[in-house]
């Protein structure tokens, strides 16, 4: 099992992650929840604030540039 590449198996990387989490179903679910929360935190705290000025949704001023 340890030798299978991440894309092996029937259904991709998310099931690969799921299979490699330790513990039984409940523990896996709990760890997944923590992982998802961590990802959302990083996105909201760092990635989106960085990406936002690069996207044209929030310019409100008039200027001559």
């Amino acid at each position: 099992m340890g030798l299978v590449p991440w894309y092996d198996g029937r259904d991709g990387m998310y099931s690969w992650i799921w299979r490699h989490l330790p513990g039984n179903g409940w523990v896996k679910a709990l760890i997944s929840l923590v992982l998802v929360t961590a990802v959302v935190y990083v996105l909201f705290q760092y990635v989106f604030p960085w990406a936002e000025p690069l996207l044209p949704f929030n310019d409100v001023t008039v200027d001559n540039q």
Partner: protein, 262 residues
Amino acid sequence: MRSSVKGRGNVAATADDTAQHTHASPPHRGRRRPGPVAMVISFFGEMLITAGVLLGLFVVYSLWWTNVVADRAADRQADKVRDSWAHESDGGERDAPAVYDSKNGIGFLHVPTMSDDDILVEKGTSMKVLNDGVAGYYTDPVKATLPTSGKKGNFALAAHRDGHGAKFHGIHQIEKGDPIVFETKDTWFVYKVFGILPETSKFNVGVLAKVPEESGREKAGHYITLTTCTPIYTSKYRYIVWGELVRTEKVDENRTPPEELR
């Protein structure tokens, strides 16, 4: 003969597979290796799902989370301004001219037809200023004339339409004749809306001019200009509202608002 060997091989593989899993799982659920095409499609599909979830989260971030953060920042800064006003009054320095710290807000904007909030006004229209859920007065490309200066000119402001406090979200609810009140430490400046430009180019700097000609006015006066983006949720055009000073009122002990706000 051959077929029987093949059959045995199959059975062995299934038994092996089952052994790796729990004994309860039925043999037909054993894993089989997908072909390369299936793998690529499955990878692509997961990427699409991931992209979709990411975009969804970005919408949640833009329209909800930035408001939470901005409102918090705006409340904190507004409290600071109100506190400093209260302290200056306590100190018995009523006659001293108001000192404006450019880092702090200079006053509050009240537009009852647009929102019930009092909107803190700060210097500058950079994203850094506006993202704190405040309105900013222009310093670039045109310098706004502050009403506190007493000079004729245009008090031009900008704020977000969506996200980051969305202070000018309801700008389309403003109609001609509606009041716009700017509150400073000592004075209520009461303006009346006389011109609305629902859509203009973002390069139309003329709307900020001391005499904004597109509004129909030709003589110098005490004007106020609100600018934000339009249509809602995009930044394609700018929405402009012009007002003209009607009168000023001294702030009394209880900070009784002028009748337009009651």
